[in-house]
Symmetry: C2
Subunit: 255 residues, 2 copies
């Protein structure tokens, strides 16, 4: 059973996890981070700051909450006898012999200074060792009622899907914002519609609540929009491809 934890990182994910663990009375022993935020985070959850990552004290679990690009490095730096899990959706577990190693991936986007309702956050756990996967799942249940144990292949797919649903949808908002700005219109005008679109999609099936000119195959409107985008060739191409993809999905064609 995981009863003591140290955390590598002091960013948004590390802070959200530390906050919840502290609240639930789980002992956080040390925080290590290259950033100046380590001291602040450590103070907030009654932990010590560890300056030398190779000297982490013995704990039940080291949570590696750093950028994807630093995970491998951190993984090699910490004592090889420490059990560890990282919080990334996309990085594979490095299999090192005799180390309990896994993934503790909360499917949420975290912001500093914005508290999160952990109870609904899906937490994906994965380990090549069955027993450790079970330990991680039990630990994750402290955070959320929605814990899912999956394999590496499924996690890769889940991360890919999350890129479409979240990163790419956010970019669609950003494009809209850009178009409005260029025409002295406020992004505020679209906010209620953005909220309602997301709400509808999660309360039903996205493909079934699809609306808009592509879904209606209203080629007059599509032509007007493409005409509007004449001076923005990449956006015009994007508009065309996404519209075609909507039409393909509508007709049950392979995406």
């Amino acid at each position: 059973m995981i009863e003591s934890v140290s955390i590598i990182g002091a960013g948004n994910v590390a802070s959200a996890i530390a906050g919840k663990l502290f609240q639930e009375g789980i002992k956080i022993i040390e925080i290590h981070s290259k950033s100046d935020s380590a001291q602040e985070l450590a103070s907030s959850c009654n932990a010590l700051v560890c300056r030398d990552i190779s000297q982490l004290k013995q704990v039940d679990l080291v949570l590696i909450c750093v950028n994807d690009s630093s995970i491998e490095e951190v993984n090699l730096e910490i004592d090889k006898n420490l059990c560890r899990a990282h919080t990334s959706g996309s990085i594979n577990i490095t299999s090192q012999s005799q180390i309990k190693s896994g993934v503790f991936y909360p499917l949420q986007t975290f912001s500093k200074n914005k508290s999160i309702d952990w109870s609904t956050v899906p937490i994906v756990v994965q380990s090549e060792t069955k027993e450790f996967a079970k330990e991680l799942a039990s630990f994750a249940s402290i955070f959320s009622d929605n814990v899912v144990e999956i394999n590496a292949e499924q996690r890769a797919v889940l991360h890919l899907a999350a890129v479409f649903a979240c990163n790419f949808s956010n970019h669609m908002y950003a494009i809209a914002d850009t178009i409005l700005q260029q025409n002295q219109l406020s992004f505020d005008l679209l906010k209620p519609l953005i909220r309602e679109t997301a709400t509808k999609a999660v309360e039903s099936v996205p493909a079934e609540v699809q609306t808009g000119p592509a879904q209606r195959e209203d080629f007059n409107v599509i032509a007007k929009h493409l005409n509007h985008l004449e001076a923005h060739p990449p956006l015009k191409e994007l508009y065309k491809s996404i519209s075609q993809s909507i039409i393909n999905l509508k007709h049950g064609k392979k995406l």
Copy 2:
């Protein structure tokens, strides 16, 4: 001042508008629709059903709440002396001499059986006659505190932006759903993340809260995802173009 209204259409938009007008004590005289829902809608708001659209009684405003493709036809069928406004974001006003004609475009997506908080819905009004635009704006203020008078060019831009922010973001959710289904994973896993992504975007600036592999320019993860999409050439192309667009926006390049 607009004190009596008839409505053409009995779909989601017509129903939402009729419900609000009835609630606010504005007289709805007649409902006309080719669908069977006309009687039900008329009963719900104390209106009569008008079978012959050319015989609509005199009212202060006829609201044309039909599909974009039917607006022109309806516009020609109704008595040429009746003031009218349609609720579409994309259709231009037909200018017919001596008719007060305009647009009453609520920027929201409406569903039957789901009530809407009108007070925050932006309503865009437009008319080629200044006086009628003012009348429409005053009428719109019955619905919402957020009434905006814009010109035809701005409305076209707004509609284009709405397609990106709403129709296209919904398609991103639909793609994610498809990818998950093909791998026996539940779309439920992404729901909290979708909600939070939309919330973050409307509470700040979308481009500033952009995350994901493209924003980090993490080409390892991007390559893995493209590899995963090998069997789906159109999705692979879409993934590439959207990622490139995210990178371009990040570097302040023209979209």
